[in-house]
Point group: C4
Chain length 123, copies 4
């Protein structure tokens, strides 16, 4: 049995899906999760906007002893997904401790730009 | 009622508004704030310079259950704004716990460069 | 005698070796370690994948009062190395406290993109 | 009187001065410090290498209520400075609490790449 590691609650204030791609790669963001435990972790992801109600509790499962690099554009809730080109923020709540990192590849221009942060853990 | 999350006091030592833009996008920085609570949060933003007195307590309101990605070039106090091309630092004090991330897009050259950090929380 | 500093256990959820390089520089990632102590530190590095069993406990030694910027492509265990172009995550366990930062240079396109995070310390 | 904020001891494991610049901007790194207190802070900066003895205790003063974005290429000790193109690590010790962020602009190629981290605080 492997122990869970990290925290159950993580925040990413600066999320944004660039609306266009000009190079070989496609602009995208990923919520990168590591689940160190033997058990699967159930994530509830909430999306906060600047001027509308949040999109709440999108479910996602990360198997035990696995990482998942979750493309934000793949997340949906009752047919709703995250709009492109809109500033938003992400909350990840998990039933087991996990570790969360957020990365963005911006290919608006032909050459790429990258940014990454470890999400902020709520303890 | 939703609980506030995070901290009331955050620091960003490396801030800088690139003076020029060459590509499709405009060089800019954002202070990205998430307010998880049901109540609005009142922010006081202080700007520190290398060789002059700080520009103190610029006010900004973030509504409850919302994020705001605040462009630093939009901040003003008594008609003063942050000069371009000058190294500075940012302090954010809030009456409610929030979470703060800082990101910069540098479009000095036609292709973009990105950087981002979670601000440093003072506990 | 110099004291060890930092933590014994660090996590990097977002790792990825870009499969191609187009510019003057080669795409690569580094696990950057500082060992402040007088003694050498023995690291055990485990690689987690999205859909296969982890590659466990690759050994690495960092001498006392030295830094090592470890290229992930150089890590091997029983002839196995980390595949290119595959999302993965990294766990670093050390017998002495150390400090760990992760950086990636993506030269998929001719112009470079950089990202970096301080790894997440498990306390 | 303003209170000092932050920590007295900070680590940056991944430092590197790119040896060349091809664009309009020059490749460089900065150690960005904010001193929130009314008093000046005295910093002792130590540089760790992969395969030689550290360059110890370079002195630097940050005035009260000021930020300094210190170019690493400007640091010298008994005529020695940090060599270009060599992986190294940075330790900052201060007599007063401060906050430290590290940023690198890589202009090896004509288009720029940026990375930034809040340094790791030793508590």
């Amino acid at each position: 049995m492997f122990q869970p590691r990290g925290e159950r609650h993580w925040i990413i204030p600066d999320a944004y899906i660039p609306p266009t791609s000009a190079g070989k790669l496609e602009s995208h963001e990923s919520i990168c999760v590591l689940n160190c435990s033997s058990e699967e972790a159930l994530l509830k992801i909430t999306i906060f906007f600047e001027d509308q109600e949040p999109l709440e509790e999108i479910l996602y499962v990360v198997p035990g002893r696995r990482t998942k690099h979750i493309r934000t554009s793949s997340l949906t809730k009752k047919g709703k997904s995250i709009p492109l080109g809109v500033p938003y923020a992400i909350e990840v709540v998990s039933d087991l401790p996990i570790i969360v990192q957020y990365s963005r590849l911006d290919a608006t221009q032909a050459e790429n730009a990258l940014m990454s942060v470890i999400a902020y853990p709520i303890k």
